[in-house]
């Protein structure tokens, strides 16, 4: 692994990483690469986030849908764990709460494949500075 030796190195790495993220978002298959973030803090995992994440990975692979499933920290919606954030390229990210396997299936079948929204959306109500 390359070491970051100076602030300039760090800035370069930051730009590289950011362009990588952009590439990931607007890459070769702009209409196909979908991003799912699963909230995986202790509380999310306790509510079954691991199963949800595995299910997304397996099911999307099984159906041949090119998507990036990653984990992230707590989104703060304790009342609706497990929570996921789904980003379809070109659209605003959508957060879903109470995502168990059934809900995950519904999200794949409807939102990902047909671009229909599914019940259970949590409206984002904060801004990040």
């Amino acid at each position: 692994m390359t070491k970051v030796k100076s602030l300039a190195d760090l800035k370069k790495l930051k730009e590289e990483v950011q362009s990588k993220i952009k590439l990931r978002e607007k890459g070769d298959h702009p209409e196909n690469l979908i991003q799912i973030k699963v909230s995986m803090a202790t509380c999310g995992i306790a509510s079954g986030a691991k199963d949800t994440m595995n299910y997304f990975i397996e099911e999307l692979e099984h159906q041949g849908i090119d998507a990036l499933v990653t984990q992230t920290g707590c989104m703060g919606y304790c009342y609706a764990e497990p929570t996921i954030e789904l980003t379809i390229p070109g659209n605003q990210p959508v957060v879903y709460g109470d995502v168990n396997k059934t809900k995950a299936q519904e999200i794949i079948d409807k939102h990902i494949k047909l671009n229909e929204l599914v019940d259970g959306i949590i409206p984002v109500s904060y801004k990040t500075l």
Partner: protein, 597 residues
């Protein structure tokens, strides 16, 4: 692929459902079908927008128009005007109460400025196990800025000017603490991160460590640079295995990238971080006890001064900050002190993370600017009280804090206002109570916690709290006397004044604040032998109402102690001397004939 051109998001939160949001959704669906747009516009229920006072909410996407107080009669107008003709329905837009300006897009609404994420900026956004995602979001640039552009003095001045105060509860100015530690001369100094989060119901430190561990590492390194320390220690409770694992992963990655270790970013500054595990004692959140525990001694507090900044870990100058405090440091360095101090109130700057719990609809972790009111937190963000019950009290500051009534709902939340109201900021637990909660039992609950967690070193805390607990138990058992109330208050003050550390000095707070704000409940227990909330079992009586009792014998058959007697098809009777108040009869009765008196 169905090609919906528009989405109508109808709020399906409890509050909005109560004001006919279901009907609104159905109206939309039917009326869209009438105009033949059902394949172009999708109608969907969402979770709570958290803007319940203006509900029901309808949001139109993709143009992001936000309609408030929509009734089932308005749906046709929205379809005809907005969807068909593309014109906004002005009278359903939100009007800003201060500027009287109509606001179309939700992101411009004041309401969306209610939650501002600084400490939680990366939580739920980046992958905590990938350092590159942190770097991609400006990570480690604050450390880089410090090392290349700022002297320790100027970096500390930024923290001082920002007005950041300790988020662990005490509220001591962070910049000042760093400055004091910097000025103590010693070859070896330490930076300690207090991740011994012990308040019942508070979990923001765990969330930060699990969701964004690099921010803590970066901030500790900055602190080390500022105070002249090359060693950092994270004191974290062993009950947080995932946080520990992610922190370890993050430490390894930071070392691999050269952001920890020798000569960071090519400078002369070297910094290393180790992890120390706590065994879960509440008192070890107190900094002197924490340091003793790290040294392998008993986790007991010692008298201050000397403060840890003078003589801390292994007798060396030590700067102790809490996780959330550290999480605020990198943004202050990158965005500047003015930016940070523009948020919040005069004496409390920035934001605070609260763990919202109890009888509230949207239980969760929120980050709000200082100076927000409890009403905004509970009703706008929290979505109001569960099951439409009446709000009674909110407990802040955990076992060291107090219970506030609805008189305080409109008081801006900051360190000083909470203290003045007899509570405290604490680490940010916020537990909401409704009409069914007995305040005497609540005080007893918190005292039981401190009683368990008292280290036993000083007499007022060890024995005094035990006596307080016994008096409270006497009251909830219905054996209290008016003198007990005077005794409670007096003893509380003695413990507050004479205990050694923060744990004892604050342990009577739940009692004192409930005595101040809910005296009538104590008096009802003592004078009338009644628990107004119906929680204290010893003070309850289950009574059968003759008119409603059909003599079905269900209660008779379910009573575990045979306290119920009566003839079939005739009213039954509960023998109070035998009744153990288990409530089985009450739960079973199908005719609502059993009352709690």
């Amino acid at each position: 692929m169905t090609d919906y051109k528009m989405h109508l998001l109808v709020c399906g939160g409890t509050g909005c459902k109560a004001s006919q949001s279901e009907q609104i959704k159905n109206n939309f669906k039917n009326q869209l079908q009438e105009v033949g747009l059902e394949n172009d516009v999708q109608v969907i229920h969402t979770g709570c927008f958290g803007f319940c006072e203006q509900g029901p909410i309808v949001k139109v996407q993709p143009d992001n128009t936000f309609y408030v107080s929509v009734t089932p009669d308005d749906t046709r107008e929205i379809i005809n005007e907005h969807i068909v003709k593309g014109r906004q329905v002005d009278h359903l837009l939100y009007t800003d109460p201060n500027t009287k300006v109509q606001i179309t897009e939700s992101k411009n609404m004041d309401f969306y400025k209610k939650q501002v994420r600084i400490a939680l900026r990366n939580c739920g956004f980046i992958n905590p196990e990938n350092i590159e995602e942190y770097i991609g979001n400006d990570g480690y640039s604050a450390l880089g800025k410090c090392l290349e552009e700022l002297t320790p003095e100027s970096a500390i001045k930024m923290i001082m000017d920002s007005g950041l105060r300790g988020r662990g509860g005490g509220g001591f100015p962070t910049g000042l603490k760093w400055d004091i530690t910097r000025k103590v001369e010693n070859e070896q100094k330490y930076v300690v991160c207090n991740a011994d989060e012990g308040d019942p119901g508070a979990f923001m430190d765990r969330s930060i460590l699990e969701g964004d561990p690099h921010t803590v590492i970066e901030a500790m390194a900055i602190c080390g640079y500022c105070i002249g320390a090359n060693k950092g220690l994270v004191y974290i409770r062993a009950e947080y295995p995932l946080a520990i694992q992610r922190l370890k992963t993050a430490l390894t990655q930071a070392r691999e990238y050269g952001l920890l270790g020798e000569n960071i970013l090519g400078s002369d500054f070297s910094f290393e971080i180790e992890i120390r595990y706590g065994a879960g004692a509440f008192v070890c959140g107190e900094e002197t006890a924490l340091i003793h525990s790290m040294e392998g001694k008993r986790g007991e507090p010692t008298f201050k001064p000397p403060f840890p900044s003078q003589e801390g870990y292994l007798g060396k100058p030590t700067n102790v900050n809490n996780v959330e405090t550290f999480a605020n440091i990198p943004p202050i360095i990158t965005k500047g002190a003015d930016w940070f101090s523009s948020i919040g109130t005069e004496k409390s700057k920035g934001t605070k993370v609260f763990a919202l719990a109890g009888k509230i609809n949207n239980v969760g972790l929120i980050e709000v600017p200082m100076g927000i009111t409890l009403r905004e937190v509970i009703y706008d963000i929290g979505g109001g009280i569960k099951n439409g019950k009446e709000f009674k009290s909110v407990q802040t500051g955990g076992p060291s804090g107090g219970c506030l009534t609805n008189d305080f709902l409109d008081t801006p939340i900051d360190y000083d206002n909470l203290l003045a109201a007899g509570s405290m900021m604490g680490s940010g637990g916020m537990i909401v109570m409704d009409e069914d909660d007995c305040m005497v039992s609540i005080a007893k609950f918190y005292l039981e916690f401190t009683l368990d967690e008292s280290c036993g070193k000083c007499t007022p805390c060890r024995i005094g709290n035990k006596r307080l607990y016994e008096i409270l138990e006497k009251i909830t058992d219905g054996k209290g006397t008016p003198e007990d109330l005077t005794k409670l208050r007096m003893l509380s003050h003695v413990i507050k004044d004479s205990s050694l550390c923060g744990l004892g000095q604050t342990s009577p707070n739940p009692i004192l604040s409930t005595l101040d704000n809910f005296m009538h409940e104590y008096e009802a227990h003592v004078n009338d032998g009644k628990c107004p909330a119906g929680q204290c079992k010893a003070l309850l009586q289950y009574v059968i109402t003759d008119e409603k009792c059909t003599g079905c014998t269900l209660c008779f058959r379910n009573c575990p102690v045979g306290a119920i007697s009566g003839e079939k098809r005739n009213p039954h009777y509960i023998d109070q001397s035998l009744c153990i108040k288990c409530g089985a009869c009450y739960d079973k009765c199908k005719f609502d004939a059993i009352k709690i008196a």
